[in-house]
Structures are given as structure tokens and as C-alpha cells.
């Protein structure tokens, strides 16, 4: 993934809880074999509604999405993260992310900013009132800030994941540094474990 140090930009308010990945990118889009081009399908069901936030011109160009709790629940489709990134989002703010979605974010390079519900609530109202409000997410400091509001809030990001974001590190390369441990483990696996090769 690409290194990411800070995200500074405007935000789009999506004041809904339990936004599932079927909404973020409907399954029709999952038939594609490419990794790019999913932005067009982002929230395509909801974008059919004229007043949906992404159809409002004042939120064009937003790089942060602010959403309710349990964002990204449901299907494991990483296409949801790709769609958000392809559309132009670099960070998503929510009181809680669904587990698999959260992992997918940290693998693909979309910054998950988990902050208290009250902070999310305050940001939603502020961005609704002033769509030009600028937010800054700082990976090194692990903070999200809205200077115009006098708001600064920390968010959790474990040191390893933070390092991977800052350096843009590929997980596979990191694991392959332990190839000796993989080989040693393989040599000691139980004989009853099944294999999918050989006679059926």
C-alpha cells in the first residue's frame, strides 16, 4: 500500500448506523476481476436517492467520510474499501468499525478513525452546518482534529499498523521475513491434517 501520513480535507456526513458492505458496494459490482474502478459503484443503491449525501454538491471532493456505528458490517468484501478509496476517501470516521472491514482498511490503506460516539456526533453536526469544515487526521500523532471547532481527539491505531501506514509496507513482505518459522511450523504439523492434493 501507499504511505499515508496525514489526511487534510473536507468531510461528508453519513449519519447512519450499521452501514453494511452490501450498501457500500452492491454485489453486482463484485463480479469484476479488476481492483480499480469501484468508485462508480460506491453506495450505488443510495445514490439513486437525490438527497443522498454524496449527491449533494457541497460535499464533492470530501476526503473523509463520517458515519454511524458498526460501519462496514456484513460481507467480507474488500471491494467496499476499494470503492471508498477509488471514490476519493482517504479516511473513515465511526464510533465502531466491523471487524473484517477494519482489517481490510488497514491492508488496503484506508485509514479507520474510531472515536467516541459524542465526537462523531459533534463532527456530523459541524459538517452538516459547514460543508467546508476542514479536518486533519494525523497518523503519526493518532489524532483527528477540526481546528475551527477547537476539537482534537485521539484514535486507536496499534503501533504495527501505524508503522505500516507511515511506511506503506506490504504485509506479505513482512511475513516472508519469518519464512524460517513458517517452514519449521510446517515440519511439525500433525499427520492427520488433510491435504487437497493426491487421489480423491
Amino acid at each position: 500500500m501507499e504511505p499515508l501520513h496525514t489526511v487534510t480535507g473536507t468531510a461528508a456526513p453519513l449519519d447512519r448506523a450499521d452501514v453494511d458492505t452490501d450498501q457500500i458496494i452492491p454485489s453486482e459490482w463484485l463480479k469484476r476481476v479488476e481492483r480499480a474502478g469501484f468508485g462508480e459503484g460506491l453506495f450505488s443503491g443510495w445514490r439513486a436517492e437525490a438527497d443522498f449525501v454524496l449527491n449533494q454538491p457541497q460535499y464533492a471532493g470530501a476526503s473523509v467520510l463520517i458515519a454511524g456505528a458498526n460501519f462496514g458490517c456484513g460481507s467480507s468484501r474488500e471491494h467496499a474499501v476499494w470503492a471508498l478509496m477509488d471514490y476519493g476517501f482517504k479516511a473513515v470516521v465511526s464510533p465502531r468499525f466491523a471487524d473484517i472491514f477494519l482489517t481490510n482498511c488497514t491492508k488496503a490503506g484506508l485509514l479507520p478513525v474510531q472515536v467516541d460516539g459524542e465526537v462523531v456526533e459533534r463532527l456530523l453536526r459541524a459538517v452538516e452546518a459547514d460543508p467546508r469544515l476542514t479536518l486533519t487526521v494525523d497518523v503519526a500523532a493518532r489524532t483527528i482534529a477540526a481546528p475551527a471547532l477547537g476539537l482534537q481527539s485521539p484514535f486507536p491505531l496499534d503501533g504495527h499498523t501505524q508503522w505500516r501506514f507511515l511506511e506503506g509496507l506490504d504485509d506479505i513482505d513482512l511475513t516472508l521475513r519469518h519464512e524460517g518459522a513458517i517452514r519449521a511450523y510446517e515440519a511439525g504439523r500433525a499427520a492427520w491434517l488433510p491435504i487437497t492434493a493426491g487421489p480423491e
Partner: protein
């Protein structure tokens, strides 16, 4: 396999199940970086999400689906991965075929690019869904970095009331814990109710762990588990079977273990459930009514579902009944539905289809004559696949169409744009098909 301060643990993957939807970009990533598949012999592929369930002798009509299915076939060929393709006797939904082939065994780590990988936890395997970047990681390294999740015990005690099934246990748990009650945790399902469930029932409960927010849900292996596995094609045999049993008997959680989170459910309080909204926690007993909305989300869900608060669930008519999906498409599920349908007819105007989870389930059901029961009742008898659970193949709801479905997600548009999904058990689905509105078998004439 590897553990170091400040880094996620690295878990070895004993079985990597793959399908056509979440893998093409992972294989492309391998090629782009000059890597290969480390252990094709610990990888199994099938085609399930896109495949049509009728007309298997014809090419897939949707060119985008056809291209994806073809990409899987090519990738499996290039890397020497065993594939059970469309039309093969062992093809089926990935979470149905792993267990039925005896590939899913206690104590294994199993991953798949699909959130319902939690199904395999029913065997006491650590099984969880992963994204495509992780699929690529597993292909390249046969391992996956993981942080240790919290532990959560969901204990269900007592006898289930008549008509209450494993699906209702799953929905009842989600009713209590909500869609994120299990987030950040690995669930262990415990208690006499869980112990009394068949492996099929335990798989249904494990399957819906992800709907309660947990990435994985496990049941300690016991004699029910071992009896299910013995003699299956990939399960160990002879001396290896004995060695495996010795290992498996050590896997259960220690007495007195302390969990980070505990939930207790009284089985006697469970009922046949029907969802009314657009997430699986928006659920009521079938005896109940559409509840008054308490949030913007619930109001939005009611509008989407075309329902009014206060309407008794039993008065809601359906257009379609779908029996299938990795939640409820095993032989036991089909038997339960067929028992309701024997000698009865689907209500005129209701579209009803049954999609066995695998070609082996289909064959076994046909050997018992279940296909005849379904077709005589007016159900369409289909070939195996994910089908209308998520509408990636031609089995779709039309806008506004209302469906009683044995699947796992009632999200907006899940079964087709504008489609309205109500999650139910196979028995309730069958009774609903006959009544043309939500019903339990007991109330049918």
C-alpha cells in the same frame, strides 16, 4: 506460528477455501509481485456465488460472471489448486462442501474470503472470513497476521420449545446482542441447547456469528462432531483417525475458564423468529408485530420494507420463498422444509425455490425423494450455489418483491435491488410458502 512483542501474531492456515468472487485480484497481486501459491495442497476452490442454478449445460449468460468464473478456473490450473467447478458432483457453497467433504476438522485454522467462514467453527475449528488482501497473503505465505480477539461465551441452556430451530437460536442470540455484540470477540457457543444440536444446526448457529459482529464462533467438538466426520472423504482414517481423536478430545475449553464477555440465553424463551427490518437484529417472534420504530435507522428500515408498525407478522403476505444459502441448505434443512410441504401446495402466486447447498446435498435429497416433495408442492428444485442469498446469479428479487428467506442477511437490496428480505427458518419458510403469509407449520390446515 510466530509471535513477537508489538506485532500481530502470525497464524498458520491449515485450510484455505477459495471461490471466484474474492480471489481474482489476489492472484493478480501474486503475479504482479512475482510470488506463487505456497501450499496449493492446503487450498480448495469451488464456484458458488455467481453460478446459475438452472441450465448448467449452457454457458453462463452474464459475460461478467462468466469472466470471473473463468478467471478462477485459469488461476487454479496455473497454480495446481484443486477446483470443484460448476457441474462437478462435489461443487457447492464453499461453507457447505468443506464440512461435508471432511476437510473442516476440529482444531484447524480455516480462512476464506467470505464472512460466513464462521460456519466451520461448529467443528471447533478457528475459522474466520478475510478480505482479498489477506487472501493474497494466505496464498503467498499460508499464514495470516491476527491480533488475539476478546473471548465471549454465549451459553444457551435448556430444551428448545416445539418448532424452534437452530436458525431461531441464531436469530434469538442476535436479537439479544445486536449486530455488533460480538465485535472484537471470538464467540464460544456453549450450554445444553448447543450440545443437543446436530452438526447441521451448530453450523447454522456458527454461520450467523458474523451477523452478531463476531468474526468467528466456535463449538467444542464432541461425539456428535466425531460421528459426523468419520468416514468423510478427506477426514483421517484408520490410525490417523485415532490420532486425530486423541488431539480433538483435548480441545474443549477448560472448566472454570473466564471469558471477557458472557451472554446467557434461556432456550425456553426462544420462538420461531422473523426479521422485519434491514439488519438481522431487527427481528421479532413470529407471534409478534412490526415494532414501533425507535431510531432513524428503524424508520428508514420500515419505509424500505414497506411495513407499518403494529402489523402482526402473520398478516404480512410474501411474493417469494427462498430455501437455501450457507445458513440453511443442508440435508437436515431440506428435510425440515419437505416435512412441512408433504401433501401440501405452495399458495397460488407465490414463487418458491429451493437451492441445495451442494451437489452432494442435492443428490442425497433426491435419493430420499425430497425433490419430488418440493416439486409436487410447487417449489422449483435447483442446482447448488449461493443463488438468491445475495443475487449474484440470475436468481433475484424484483423491486418491492417480498421474500421469506432462510439466508443470513436482510440488508437493503441484498437479494436484488429494492427486494424485501425476511429471515426465517426452513420450517417457517415452507409453512409461509403454503400460507402465502408468515406462518408456522403448526397452524397449517
Amino acid at each position: 506460528m510466530h509471535s513477537a512483542e508489538g506485532e500481530p501474531d502470525i497464524l498458520y492456515v491449515d485450510l484455505h477455501l477459495i471461490h471466484e468472487v474474492t480471489t481474482p485480484q489476489a492472484f493478480d497481486g501474486l503475479r504482479a509481485n512475482g510470488r506463487t501459491v505456497r501450499r496449493p495442497d492446503l487450498t480448495l476452490a469451488t464456484m458458488d456465488h455467481n453460478v446459475p442454478t438452472i441450465g448448467l449445460d449452457r454457458p453462463i449468460a452474464d459475460p461478467v460472471s462468466a469472466r470471473q468464473v473463468e478467471a478462477l478456473r485459469r488461476n487454479c490450473e496455473q497454480y495446481g489448486i484443486r477446483l470443484y467447478p460448476m457441474g462437478h458432483g462435489r461443487q457447492g457453497i464453499v461453507h457447505i462442501i468443506g464440512p461435508e467433504l471432511g476437510l473442516t476438522l476440529p482444531g484447524m485454522t480455516i480462512v476464506c474470503g467470505d464472512s460466513h467462514t464462521s460456519t466451520h467453527g461448529a467443528f471447533g475449528a478457528l475459522a474466520f472470513g478475510i478480505g482479498t488482501s489477506e487472501v493474497e497473503h494466505v496464498l503467498a505465505t499460508q499464514s495470516v497476521p491476527q491480533r488475539r480477539p476478546g473471548t465471549m461465551a454465549v451459553t444457551v441452556e435448556g430444551d428448545l420449545p416445539p418448532g424452534v430451530t437452530a436458525k431461531d437460536v441464531a436469530l434469538g442470540i442476535i436479537e439479544r446482542i445486536g449486530t455488533s455484540g460480538g465485535a472484537g470477540h471470538l464467540v464460544e457457543y456453549r450450554g445444553s441447547t448447543i450440545r443437543a444440536l446436530s452438526m447441521e444446526g451448530r453450523m447454522t448457529v456458527g454461520n450467523m456469528s458474523t451477523e452478531g459482529g463476531a468474526r468467528a464462533g466456535m463449538v467444542a467438538p464432541d461425539d456428535t462432531t466425531f460421528a459426523y466426520l468419520e468416514g468423510r472423504p478427506y477426514a483421517p482414517a484408520g490410525r490417523q483417525w485415532e490420532a486425530a481423536l486423541d488431539d480433538w478430545r483435548t480441545l474443549a475449553t477448560d472448566d472454570g475458564a473466564v471469558f471477557d464477555k458472557e451472554v446467557h440465553v434461556d432456550a425456553a424463551a426462544l420462538r420461531p423468529y422473523v426479521t422485519w427490518g434491514t439488519n438481522p437484529a431487527q427481528v421479532v417472534p413470529i407471534d409478534g408485530s412490526v415494532p414501533p420504530p425507535e431510531s432513524d435507522g428503524a424508520r428508514r428500515a420500515l419505509a424500505y420494507m414497506g411495513l407499518r408498525a403494529g402489523t402482526p407478522m402473520r398478516e404480512i403476505p410474501v411474493d417469494t420463498v427462498f430455501i437455501g444459502s450457507c445458513t440453511n441448505s443442508r440435508l437436515e434443512d431440506l428435510r425440515a422444509a419437505a416435512a412441512v410441504l408433504a401433501g401440501r401446495r405452495v399458495k397460488a402466486g407465490v414463487r418458491a425455490l429451493v437451492v441445495p447447498g451442494s451437489m452432494q446435498v442435492r443428490t442425497a435429497a433426491e435419493a430420499e425423494g425430497l425433490d419430488g416433495v418440493f416439486t409436487a408442492a410447487g417449489f422449483e428444485w435447483r442446482a447448488a450455489g449461493c443463488s438468491m442469498c445475495l443475487g449474484m446469479n440470475p436468481d433475484l428479487l424484483s423491486p418491492g418483491e417480498r421474500c421469506a428467506s432462510t439466508s443470513n442477511r436482510n440488508f437493503e437490496g441484498r437479494q436484488g435491488d429494492g427486494g424485501r428480505t425476511h429471515l426465517v427458518s426452513p420450517a417457517v419458510a415452507a409453512a409461509t410458502a403454503v400460507a402465502g403469509r408468515f406462518a408456522t407449520p403448526e397452524e397449517l390446515p
